[in-house]
Amino acid sequence: MPLNLEPPDGNRADWGLLYRARGTEEVVDHRPVFTGDIFTNVEVLAPRAEKPKSKTVMVIQHPCAMRPQGTGLASSILVAEVRQHPEVQPGQWSGYGKLMPLPELYPQFTTGKRHAAALFDHTYHVHPDDLAVRVACLSPRGLNLLLQRWVFHSARVVVPTHDFDEVTAPVYEEADLIEDWCDIAMEAGRTVEEALHDVNAWLQEGLEAGATRQKMLEQDQLRSNVRRELRTAAETWRAPEAPVEDIA
């Protein structure tokens, strides 16, 4: 069976499964910046343009490429412009290879403003500090569909989303765990900076035989154990050294 660019869920138009969170009420500030996140009011400079413009953009860089040293973000992040776009029906997802459809990105609207798309031929590089107002995060399914379409646009190759899932699952899990840790630690009185510092140290802490918890996340058999351990540790575990500024 030849593989085309995939729809989210067969013939079903259940667009909610593309997103982890939509709108500033749902998006959690302390979640690490991740591939597929959508930010608004981002200043971008088009080639040969004299003045920057404010746009809504989606991060399209692979999670690993965004964090070359493992934790801190790279100083230049690749983003694609997000614009209103007619709803792309499930049967049409095999086309539109120059974009990532984002149906019902803005569920609060009832008109065509509800739907959008990230345009792969309108890309920019931005500094992470410019990514301040996050308005949506993708689900694992949304992330894998984005990568499939972005790779197809860039290399004319269709990679099955279930293959992408094998390599994105560990890093998506890590983002989830960081959010989870911060929730618990901040409830226990830590600042967001302290919580982020602690969780990164905890994930990278050397264990037996050179393993780290971050490395353990690469094995699906071990993820639930790390999760359980994290939920116990987050309240009281503290990194040996104090956090430095600008750790995220």
Binding site: M1, G16, Y19, R20, A21, E25, E26, V28, C64, P68, S139, P140, V159, P160, H162, D163, F164, D165, E166, V167, P170, V171, E173, D176, D180, E218, D220, Q221, L222, R223, S224, N225, R227, R228, R231
Partner: protein, 215 residues
Amino acid sequence: MTDTSGLTTVDQGTASAGITPAPTLPETGLPSVSQLREHAGVLDTQASLLRADTSELHGDLVMREWGVKTTELVRLDVPQLLAELADLGFAWRSIAQLIGVSVPAVQKWRRGGSVSGESRTNTAAVVAACRLIEESYVVFGLARWFECPILPGVPVTPLDLYISKKINLVFLLASGKTDPVQVLDVFDPDWRDTYRSEFEVFQADDGVALRRREQ
């Protein structure tokens, strides 16, 4: 199914209704090999039909028990039910998928937000399924079991079965009484094509990555 007394009854098996008695062996003299073979064949068929009936009966009863447990658990606080799932090691996104809602909805409930009756029942149903599996079957690390592929290399997990409302398959798989391939055949008859891939995961210098599989 309800009988006249209002008590719930269990389906009677249908397969064994067609069982015909095994042919009688001669009372005097030794039976021939042919007669023995025929007799054994009939017994084998009877055993298969009985097995099908008992499997169906067992499956029905497991689903009944799940319903009873769900009804009991609906009375508990939703945050308490969610905490039980989290303590098992489930990711919040998995919990949200199992219940059929978004992650932010689950996070809101954890903080005491209002929950619809349907979501309350669905949450109780997930906890009931977990308890039933833990109490009845040998499954170590329940969350891990739910999140790992049924068959190596095929990205279908018990979580996927549950989300697709094939919950009888989840229990069947947990029982260890069935071949995972049969479960996959029921779940998606085209799974061999659906999940065929030319790519494989490998360990690159900076983490896991994909490359084309050697043919």
